[in-house]
Amino acid sequence: MEHTNGRSKFLNRFIQSINGDFTPLVFQKDLDAMANFDDRQFDGSTLETTDVKMYFGGVKALDGASIKVEPGKLTSLIGPNGAGKTTLFNVITGFLKPTAGQVFLEGREITREPIRARSKMGIARTFQKLEAFNTLSTRDNILVAGEKHNTRTETPTKLEVDALMEDVGLAEYSDITVGTLPTGIARRVELARALATHPRILLLDEPSSGLNESETEEMAQLLSKLTKQGLSILLVEHDMSFVMSVSDFIYVLDFGKIIAQDIPEKIQNDPKVRAAYLGAH
């Protein structure tokens, strides 16, 4: 894969093409750059929703939810089942158009933008129910997300994809069809795919579901590494210990309203939050 052996660019391109690889050519400078992958920086951005309302007929899934995700911080969204967490995710990523309220990315209103435009602006997400490209290999899952037209940046080189897979712990599964991988690993594929779009904010919908203890631990480490690299993360999660260990800030959602917002230590002791979880209303 190191096309640095003095062949002409044309010949390199030809050999690469007939082997079915249409990613950009890799040159010595790319190899040099590879050393710097570990201190990669994300251009994390602020995400804000103001008074978002989402009604389904008579059901108020969201009733004035305002949250703010600071750049380079991991913000969590918790709440009992049916509190509207996923609905808010869908509003932010454009899968649902809210009944009222606005969504801002870096101060720019994006409430009416289509899903793909938001993706290009840097919003990436994973899904609660696994939505990987099951018949593609891990590598292709990442490539398809990173390719030109999809993102603001150029198609990633093979080396960049390799580095990303290494980061997320997928190196050994690069050529395996994702549909045949176990859930925990497929979740990582989904995460890597989201990262390949060069996000500025990453929305994770229950990344720890289906993972065992050690995998959850790895996931937590990965998330804190990503925030250190400057990525903003919004997390929806049921696993409280996981949330408390990784979050910088927590919003608690119940019946479509934000009932509490604070740093993890304070949220843990908030009586309103306890009441919501125990169902005392």
């Binding site: 389904f56 793909r116 939505e131 292709d140 398809v144 050529d175 069809t177 690993i185 779009t197």
Partner: protein
């Protein structure tokens, strides 16, 4: 939760609300997107009817009597469609399968009834006569009250047989495969009915009660029609009550959601699905028997066309709602009857009354949203490596294909017995036709195989391309090859049009929309004299002139006047198309197409423009189909609508699916059909072996359907299997050998499951023996055999454990050396 979940919740919420606050229902229902879409669909249809009425108004006097008579006829027709449609809706509600074979089962029922009630010499006796036993009188007619239940029971039995033998085994497969299987069943039953009851013999079918009935307002309303109307109404109401109120009905509806959950509540899902199939098939039979008198004579293909109307009616109820389907059926009946009476239609537009049904089907399918959540059913198989044919493999393969085809057709490779000149013109023409159809099928590979967009109308695109050629290039440009891209460019927008209208559709909905599109093309486009000039002297295809190469003349111009040259040219085109496809599959376009078929939601979330991606793939597919349509036309020498018939197109889709729609070379599989018909013709030319001829004929007829049924056991297609086997012989495909070993290991010992891959690394057989004896307390060997391991490392397979992927490192290094 996905986008579709949300729409579903939305719809449910609306329903709940509507039930609770009846007073608010009409005021608030305008906020329901489904109601708004329904209104839009109705508006478009009403607009079309008005426009057609204004343009083609015949100026007949509107008397009360004629209006009344035709309304009653229309109502009766509509009721007939309703019987079919309710069968479809019930089956869809209870099994989740949309049964394309509904019409065919109805045909079967009608024929059984005809045998018992009308035929002087029923089938049963003809069969007994084979054994030279005559036990019953010469003429024997069963009373309709006896004949009808028997015919219905036979239909019910067919339904049960279908469920037990086929449908039940498809639980795990995709909805696409399920749909194609029902299409296969349709083709098979029609072929069977055509064989038992050949179309040459007229089979009069008089209405019940001999067509008598009371006179109302000066018009005779036959008792048959009254009975039909009453029956349809009773069936619709009865079924609705049955599904909503009775225990069995509720159980039936629950099985479709989850067989496992349903069985927990004490219902046997197998019994339930069988009874659903029996019920659906009996309704089809009833529809068939009641509708048969509307035709002059019984004819399988004629009778089957009703099914499109039934589809349209079922579509009006979003495939699930019985009352709406009933109303839709009645409306279609009325529209059809009235338009055929009041409009003055020239021969060009003679099909307009019939075309309303596919039109309604198309509009409704495009406008009414997909509320049904179609889960991707993932069958977790062996952990497998993705291996797609590499471009250089395709280039070598294509070159070999050309060499072999040229050598065989030139007689250079004769293996001592092969002599192409023996084969005569018929066989060669067959090969040309085969290559053309293979190319049409290949056009579906990016569309259906990769992007997952089912298209039952490949021949409609092909026909359009052929039309462009005959109209503009054949005559004007004398078939110069460099005009061919024009055909592609002209056909691509048709594909784009379909893509834009059908962008939101998936699965069954898309299948139905494409079928409606094909039917509309047949009724309106191909039936027009501007397209097919006149039925006696059809437009001839100008043969192509191309640049060709051979060693004697070098590059030279060549008019493809003989089939040998044409055949070789098509082989070259096919090889080029395959290489292009393989390159595409590895490009970002191909990747995006496959991703789109895997998950539209995820594709959108990573920034893929879904509509444009679909437009691209549809246009590309249509362009190939259009080109291939030209070659198909050349093989048929003249441009006739029959060559682009829907049933022919369905057979094509079935064969491709049976071969494996995602594999570029899968089209070659279709050549078997022509090989067989070629052999049959050759036998007819020379010393004819009667029984062999018979076998070949039947093979040609039933082949596509039977092969498609092969998807029951092998949903990835036959070529995939063959390819797997072939790959093991290639020296650079060690991965294929390893995969095969793993598969064998799993087949021998399913309990090993995913461990199959690593089985050869297990220390020794003692461990295996221990496991079988349930002894798990041996010491953990070195190298990390642990019971506590990460997810997906096969803990469930047995108590022992192996390293995650020992094979991995092997093949990785393997691949590196490859490149």
């Amino acid at each position: 939760m996905t986008l579709f979940d949300m729409t579903q919740i939305e719809a449910t919420q609306q329903n709940l609300k509507g039930g609770k606050h009846l007073a608010n229902k009409f005021g608030k229902s305008f906020h329901n997107p489904q109601v708004i879409r329904g209104i839009i669909a109705g508006g478009v249809i009403a607009l079309a009817i008005t426009a057609v009425s204004i343009i083609f108004w015949g100026g007949k006097a509107l008397t009360f009597e004629t209006i009344f008579t035709n309304t009653t006829i229309g109502l009766a027709l509509g009721s007939l469609y309703a019987v079919y449609a309710t069968g479809l809706v019930v089956l869809y509600n209870t099994t989740g399968v949309f049964n394309f074979a509904q019409g065919a089962i109805g045909v079967f029922g009608a024929f059984i009834y005809w045998e018992l009630h009308f035929n002087d010499n029923p089938l049963v006796f003809r069969f007994i006569d084979l054994f030279s036993i005559t036990i019953l009188p010469e003429k024997f007619h069963l009373h309709s009250l006896i004949a009808m239940p028997i015919a219905l029971l036979v239909c019910g039995a067919i339904g049960i047989i279908l469920d037990v033998l086929i449908m039940r085994k498809l639980k795990e497969t995709s909805l696409l495969v399920q749909m194609l299987i029902t299409v296969a069943i349709m083709v098979l039953i029609l072929a069977l009915a055509g064989d038992i009851w050949n179309a040459d013999q007229p089979r009069p079918f008089s209405p019940l009660f001999g067509g008598s009935g009371p006179k109302i307002f000066g018009a005779t309303i036959t008792l048959h029609r009254i009975l039909v109307f009453v029956t349809a109404g009773a069936v619709a109401i009865g079924l609705r009550l049955f599904l909503k109120k009775t225990r069995l009905g509720i159980a039936m509806r629950s099985v479709v959601d989850s067989r496992e959950l349903a069985s927990l509540t004490g219902t046997n899902p197998n019994v339930i699905s069988s009874s659903a199939w029996a019920l659906g098939s009996m309704l089809a039979g009833l529809g068939g028997i009641l509708i048969a008198p509307e035709f002059q004579t019984l004819d399988p293909t004629n009778l089957n066309t009703i099914v499109i109307i039934a589809f349209a009616a079922a579509a009006c109820g979003a495939l699930r709602n019985l009352p709406m389907a009933f109303i839709g059926a009645i409306a279609i009946g009325l529209i059809k009857q009235h338009t055929s009476i009041w409009l003055d239609l020239s021969t060009d537009y003679r099909n307009i009354p019939d075309a309303f049904a596919p039109f309604i089907l198309l509009v409704v399918m495009v406008v009414i949203p997909d509320t049904r959540l179609e889960l991707t059913r993932i069958v977790k198989g062996l952990r497998s490596r993705e291996r797609v044919t590499l471009p250089w493999e395709a280039i070598i393969g294509g070159a070999m294909l050309i060499l072999v085809a040229v050598a065989l057709s030139g007689g250079w490779l004769n293996f001592g017995f092969w002599n192409p000149s023996d084969w005569g013109l018929a066989a060669l023409n067959n090969s040309v036709a085969a290559m053309a159809l293979i190319l049409i099928a290949t056009s579906l590979i990016p569309l259906t195989g990769w992007t997952g967009q089912i298209n039952l109308a490949p021949l409609a695109f092909a026909g359009f391309g052929a039309f462009i050629y005959t109209k503009f290039i054949g005559d004007a440009a004398f078939g110069q090859w460099y005009w061919l891209p024009l055909v592609a460019i002209a056909t691509a927008p048709l594909g784009a049009l379909v893509a834009i209208t059908a962008a939101r559709l998936k699965g069954v909905y898309l299948g139905l929309a494409s079928l409606a599109f094909a039917q509309l093309m047949t009724f309106l486009f191909f039936a027009h004299s501007e397209i097919t000039p006149n039925f006696v002297e059809n437009r001839q295809f100008e043969r192509l002139e191309i640049i060709w190469f051979n060693f004697k003349k070098g590059f030279h111009r060549l008019k493809l006047i003989n089939d040998l040259d044409e055949f070789r040219f098509l082989v070259v085109v096919f090889a080029i198309v395959i290489v292009v496809l393989v390159f595409l599959r590895h490009s970002r376009f191909g990747r995006r197409w496959v991703a789109l078929s895997d998950s539209e939601v995820a594709s959108a979330s990573i920034g893929v423009n879904i509509v444009w991606t679909k437009v691209a793939v549809y246009s590309f597919s249509a362009a190939i189909a259009g080109l291939a349509g030209v070659f198909w036309g050349v093989a048929n020498t003249s441009f006739t609508a029959d060559s682009y018939d829907i049933l022919e197109g369905l057979a094509l889709v079935l064969l491709l699916a049976a071969a494996g729609a995602s594999i570029p070379v899968a089209g070659i599989f279709l050549s078997f059909r022509f090989l067989i018909s070629g052999l049959a013709k050759r036998l007819a030319d020379t010393d004819s072996v009667d029984w062999l001829m018979f076998v070949f004929e039947k093979l040609e007829k039933y082949g596509p359907g039977l092969l498609a049924l092969g998807m029951v056991v092998n949903s990835r297609g036959a070529v995939f299997r063959i390819g797997q086997g072939f790959a093991q012989m290639l020296p650079w495909r060690r991965d294929a050998k390893i995969a095969r070993k793993a598969e064998i290991a799993k087949a021998q010992d399913p309990e090993f499951g995913e461990l199959g891959l690593e089985k050869e690394f297990l220390p020794d057989k003692v461990m295996d023996l221990d496991r079988r004896l349930g002894i798990l307390s041996y010491s953990v060997p070195e190298g990390g055999y642990e019971i506590l391991k990460d997810n997906g490392l096969g803990k469930n397979a047995n108590g022992t454990q192996s390293k995650p992927e020992p094979v991995e490192t092997n093949t990785n290094s393997e691949q590196k050396t490859d490149k």
